[in-house]
């Protein structure tokens, strides 16, 4: 039982490049989240989803897009990478009955 799996773990992008951070969960949880964590800072919500086909913006959605075609997968796309998007990105899945969020190990992104 892997829980929440994120790929890649590390990535360096050039300004203007695009990429997708992958997130998959094997817990059959309906709710999924993407957060970013800047060095020494808290977690900021980017996007979230309450089920397949349903997504909504969080606190800091600009520059990102998401999709949720299946319960298991919740990819995060950066279209035109900017230095301000240098951060660690965490994906999480939540079981409705307990409210607990299960986080992945994170994806460290650097934009140069």
């Amino acid at each position: 039982n892997a829980g929440v799996t994120q790929t890649p773990k590390f990535r360096i992008l050039k300004i203007g490049q695009s990429m997708t951070l992958q997130c998959t969960q094997d817990m059959n949880h309906n709710y999924m989240y993407w957060y970013r964590q800047d060095p020494g800072m808290g977690l900021k919500l980017i996007y979230y989803s309450v089920g397949a086909g349903i997504t909504d913006k969080g606190e800091v959605p600009n520059g990102y897009n998401v999709s949720r075609s299946t319960t298991e997968d919740f990819p995060l796309r950066l279209e035109l990478a900017a230095p301000s998007q240098t951060s660690v990105y965490f994906c999480a899945a939540q079981g409705k009955s307990t409210g607990e969020l299960f986080f992945g190990e994170g994806s460290r992104l650097t934009v140069l």
Partner: protein, 112 residues
Amino acid sequence: QQQVKQSPQSLIVQKGGISIINCAYENTAFDYFPWYQQFPGKGPALLIAIRPDVSEKKEGRFTISFNKSAKQFSLHIMDSQPGDSATYFCASWMDSSYKLIFGSGTRLLVRP
């Protein structure tokens, strides 16, 4: 933007001492208040949570105290150990949504 205010930003405690971290929220969609613990290089993990049908919940050395009228809750770590050195986050659900918003975090260092 609804906020979750957490204090202090950092905390240094001697081994065996008591660590206290405070959190204040504005409004919440759900009566469920968690504390998450994060070690360097890892994703956050649920430490303890409270549903405010009670004012206090204890799990081992960790206690949550909740004050609904003041919209505040706190984490107490008794007999703090060097292994407790980590960053701690409180969180609250944004009003009328499934957005879980985190505080800015408290970096705890327990000295031997």
